[in-house]
């Protein structure tokens, strides 16, 4: 109507809006980590160093320059993809992060997939059958699920399924010692193993994945089911559903074609929040299961005040989150025709 390329325009505008947020994130991260206690120069120089050598090292690291200058240097490095060097391991932070990222992503995506497959139908069923058993189950599950501390569930699952039942393998990482990782294509063991047709590796990786995935899935299940149920209930009581019923449309049509499509909209917007929680819960799950992802990397770095590593972690998490939100926003413009023409 007004703007033939409105969708493209919207996407471009969203990208544009993301830029100042990105800048804010970078600035915030920089401010945060410059405030870290502890003197990296002293750490590098070692316990035996004297004032002079510490000062020299500080100069070499560029830590004696005024803060705005440090910030510009930081920006320049960022644009080159350099996130600094980890103090504790001596390796470039960006390399470490890239190496460890697939482990976290594999875990998160699988968990989200599982939880959505369970949560969305559960929410819909609960909304359609108010007051019945499925509704009560859904409500208990969601209220309890939102109250469970992730690390506690993880530990609980380990105790039951590993210690008592012996069904799950030891929570010691992505693969048991007996197996070698498959040839690297994406970094996701399940995919790489399938590509290389190493099915026993795939099976081993899957069995290690199960418990942490279920832990994370339980965590995300609750808000998704709750939101689906609430949204469906709200839509089902609206006027146009009454019209559809009065026109004689069957239950199935009314529910799926009419109600669910509308209920999707608020659900998609909550996904952003769910991702935020998930990325945080990731850190906890990785600690419990000794998962070699970026979360555990950060936890180790925090304890020793490894500022470049922590900075790199926070920044990369924020960027992943930004990209996820952007995708969600763009997805939303596709499913809500009211947004089509402009803002």
């Amino acid at each position: 109507m007004m703007y033939p390329q409105s969708r493209v325009g919207t996407v471009v505008r969203r990208l544009g809006q993301a830029l100042p947020v990105l800048f804010g994130v970078i600035l915030a991260t920089f401010v945060l980590t410059r405030a870290l206690p502890g003197d990296p120069a002293a750490f590098f120089a070692g316990p035996a160093a004297d004032e002079k050598s510490i000062a020299e090292i500080r100069k070499a690291l560029g830590l004696d320059r005024p803060l705005p200058e440090q910030f510009l240097v930081y920006l320049r490095d960022l644009s080159r993809g350099e996130l600094g060097t980890s103090i504790s391991t001596g390796q470039p932070v960006s390399e470490e992060l890239i190496r460890r990222l697939p482990a976290s992503l594999e875990l998160t995506f699988l968990a989200l997939l599982i939880s959505m497959i369970i949560a969305v139908p559960l929410g819909i069923l609960a909304a359609i059958n108010p007051g019945k058993l499925i509704d009560h189950i859904c409500r208990i599950l969601t209220t309890a699920g939102v109250s469970l501390p992730t690390f506690f569930t993880g530990l609980g699952l380990v105790f039951i399924f590993y210690y008592i039942l012996g069904w799950a393998p030891a929570p010691l990482g992505r693969l048991d010692f007996a197996y070698l990782p498959p040839p690297h294509v994406t970094g996701f063991y399940l995919i790489d193993g399938a590509f290389a047709a190493e099915w026993d590796t795939v099976y081993a990786a899957l069995s290690q994945l199960m418990l942490p995935c279920v832990t994370l899935a339980l965590f995300t299940l609750a808000p998704i089911a709750r939101m689906t149920r609430a949204s469906m209930i709200q839509v089902l009581s609206s006027d146009f559903i009454r019209t559809a019923r009065a026109a004689g449309l069957t239950n199935y049509t009314v529910l799926i074609k009419y109600a669910f499509r509308n209920a999707l909209l608020p659900l998609v917007t909550t996904l952003g929040m769910v991702f935020s929680f998930t990325l945080g819960a990731n850190v906890l799950v990785e600690k419990v299961f000794a998962w070699p992802g970026i979360g555990s990397y950060a936890v180790e770095a925090l304890v020793v005040a490894d500022y470049a590593a922590v900075q790199g972690f926070v920044l990369s998490m924020a960027i992943i989150f930004l990209i996820l939100n952007l995708i969600i926003d763009i997805l939303y413009t596709f499913i809500d025709p009211r947004i089509e023409l402009g803002n």
């Binding site: 501390p149 690390f151 929570p171 149920r229 609430a230």
Partner: protein, 316 residues
Amino acid sequence: MTVIINSKPAIKEVVADLESRSASETTGSSRIAHSIRKQGSYIWYILSSNSVSLIAFTLFILLVLLAILGPLIVPYNPLATSAVDALKSPSWSHWFGTDQLGRDVLSRVIIATRLDLLISVTAVAISFVFGSLIGAVAGYFGGWFDKVSGRFIDTIMAFPLFVLAMGIVAALGNTVENIVYATAIINLPFYARVARAEVNIRRDAGFVHAAKLSGNSDFRVLAFHIYPNTLPPMMVQASLNMGWAILNAAGLSFIGLGVRPPTAEWGIMVAEGANFIVSGEWWLAFFPGIALMLAVFTFNLLGDCLRDIVDPRQRT
């Protein structure tokens, strides 16, 4: 959508109309005290009519009592170690067993209630006050303040919140106060957004125009007319948020930030107990974890019940 002229109510409003008609016909004398009592008894009626809300309310009172009376009712000194009593499973003398240093787990769990509740209540209070003020002013006046505060809030929300809390505590130092500040900062956006939205909805309402016609300045309109109306939904938000704040604080302690040994706090107790799960000494991590879960559960239930009172349309 144009101004609704001559709109006649839909079914729900018809029922509400019938309800209010029957309700309003029953009262005889009406004094201010009477209507306040009516509001209070109405809340009590809702709370007690539903067994779920009664449970939530009872648990809440229990938690508060434990927090206040904690040090007085613990059977053992939470910090007293005893090598010979280490790692004893739950028994009559130690209901929750003992940990690796021989400390009584029950006493530590009870003591930890105070610390955890204190951290979360303080954090939520700070973020409530600042968040709602920022949001209300932004929602009412708009303009540059709205844009600037919006950017600020967006920047906070651009981070996965737990990760940001980690970063803040790491930056400021590993103390309990900083846990409080970090939790307050990451919770701020919720209140700011809710406040802004609630104020925005009411900004063009008839009673706001009427208040301006009555000579109220912008400040008075916002403070005395609009803001009190936003309090009920914000209270609901605060109650739901408390649960999350407790989880956050415990999570941070779990990964080693904030509280240091030998302080008793649920998160750090689970972390210490985690090492013993694989060797079968489950009680070290189990009881603090259950206590944590119950506390969060209570606040979530309470929030749901409050929401039922405040806005029955959003019943979950």
